[in-house]
């Protein structure tokens, strides 16, 4: 205990804090890059999954299988598979790239389900009206379905990304200089584990908690129908 107290002034130096800040930045950057790209690709997956016609059956099966399989594999296993696969095909890929690809692969599987749920919440009749006017499948999605599905898709998608900030801790295992890796490094340098991992936990908390609050606020905000929003605006003016 005294050892910990004695270490505090040595631990909370400007240098160490700068390192932690940098690593926290990397953690966030990885999460945002992986989730945003994954979210985009998840749309492609959902779109392909809805391809009509008998010839597209194998395509639909692959899309369903992708989601099912990757939701049942631990993230750390995905990281290892990506790491060693990428290293055999492109040995000069950076660890950061590998981490982002792993996050991406995982995010696709989870957000695809969120997107599908959102799209299915839009009444079928909206799409029928568009089809009867000769809208193509993609145009219907972009101009009719998606704008109505956003309020249903965004809150859980944000919640997923926020909760994934924590799961990225696992990429420390392959040596990306994110928060957890930095924590292990400081611990190896002899700083108290309680002090180091307590601080690291605090860093995660400071990223995760406000963002999840923001997500909850957005959810409430988006769930309000437009007519009420405009009514509120009128009342305010």
């Amino acid at each position: 205990m005294e050892r910990i107290l004695e270490q505090i002034p040595r631990f909370f130096t400007a240098d160490n804090m700068a390192l932690l800040l940098q690593s926290a930045g990397l953690t966030l950057a990885m999460t945002v890059a992986g989730c945003v790209i994954g979210f985009g690709l998840a749309f492609v997956l959902v779109y392909l999954r809805q391809t009509p016609g008998r010839w597209a059956l194998p395509l639909r099966v692959i899309c369903v299988a992708y989601v099912e399989v990757f939701r049942r594999i631990p993230f750390i296993v995905v990281i290892y598979l990506v790491l060693f696969f990428i290293q055999t095909v492109a040995s000069n890929a950076s660890l950061f790239t590998i981490a982002v690809i792993s996050i991406c692969i995982y995010a696709i599987a989870y957000t695809a389900e969120i997107i599908r749920g959102g799209l299915e919440s839009v009444p079928l009749t909206q799409m029928e009206a568009a089809r009867a006017m000769n809208f193509g499948r993609l145009r219907t999605l972009v101009t009719i379905t998606l704008p109505q599905a956003w309020p249903v898709i965004l809150p859980p998608a944000i919640a997923f990304a926020v909760s994934f900030i924590k799961d990225t801790a696992l990429v420390s295992q392959i040596g990306v200089f994110e928060l957890t890796f930095r924590g292990k490094e400081l611990n190896n340098q002899g700083y108290s584990g309680i002090l180091v991992f307590g601080t690291i936990a605090m860093c995660y908390f400071l990223m995760s908690f406000p963002l999840s609050m923001l997500g909850q606020y957005l959810e409430k905000r988006l769930a309000t129908p437009r007519s009420e929003q405009s009514a509120r605006k009128i009342r305010r003016t």
Binding site: P74, V77, Y80, D167, A169, G193, V196, G198, A201
Partner: protein
């Protein structure tokens, strides 16, 4: 890509992987069971307890659910020995997972508690049930039915995402075994692809089992896919 896949060595060590899978399953079950106990306690406190205890539970839930399980386990494994508390790596993983699952299960169960409507309780009273009978025949079945799908889903999360964290402090569950074995002969892709399949099969069996259990015990439909 001219990588030469060699699965032979994986089959030679398949028994070791199976041992890892068995440990994964045990860790998952015990972590979930322990988490349920904590969850029940905390959800009851949140629903019926005095405010200082409620505040304590809130703090616990907010802190655990906003920090990585891995850091919580590192804290136990690398931090606690400084206070003279020395647990084995398996104990650290199990205790860490129980504490972690407990927080998430508090949220799930709390939602279930809130779903018991007042009028059902009143209906129970007018039917002449005692308090114990009410809990036994009305409240528990109702809550079980309401939260079962979320619980079943969370069990899979613990079984996959939870237990695999143990590999990072050297627990020989399924992922840990894969790391051990592949660092001997460097067939990483082979080991990890087989392990991925084992996880899919394991969780699929668990999903089917839970769906059947749910239908038989609580008459709820749980989707497997």
């Amino acid at each position: 890509m001219n990588y030469n896949f060699q699965y032979g060595v994986v089959w030679d060590n398949f028994g070791a992987l199976m041992e890892g899978a068995w440990l994964t399953f045990q860790l998952g079950v015990f972590a979930f069971a322990g988490g349920i106990l904590i969850g029940l306690l905390c959800a009851s406190i949140k629903t019926y307890g005095p405010w200082p205890l409620r505040l304590l539970v809130d703090t616990y839930v907010v802190f655990i659910t906003n920090t990585p399980a891995l850091i919580q386990i590192y804290f136990l494994y690398f931090g606690l020995p400084e206070l003279g508390v020395r647990w084995s790596n398996e104990a650290c993983v199990l205790i860490g997972l129980v504490l972690n699952a407990g927080a998430y299960l508090t949220m799930i169960l709390r939602a279930g508690f809130l779903s018991v409507r007042k009028n059902e309780l009143e209906a129970g009273l007018t039917l002449g049930f005692s308090v114990v009978q009410q809990i036994r025949y009305i409240i528990v079945p109702h809550i079980a039915k309401a939260v079962y799908p979320a619980l079943a889903n969370f069990f899979i999360v613990v079984l996959v995402m939870g237990t695999s964290v143990g590999a990072l402090i050297g627990v020989d569950e399924l992922t840990g075994q894969a790391i051990n074995l592949s660092s001997i002969n460097y067939r990483w892709l082979e080991y990890f692809s087989v392990v991925a399949v084992i996880y899919v099969v394991l969780t699929f069996v668990a999903s089917v089992g839970l769906a059947l259990l749910g239908r038989w015990a609580f008459r709820v439909r749980v989707r497997i896919f």
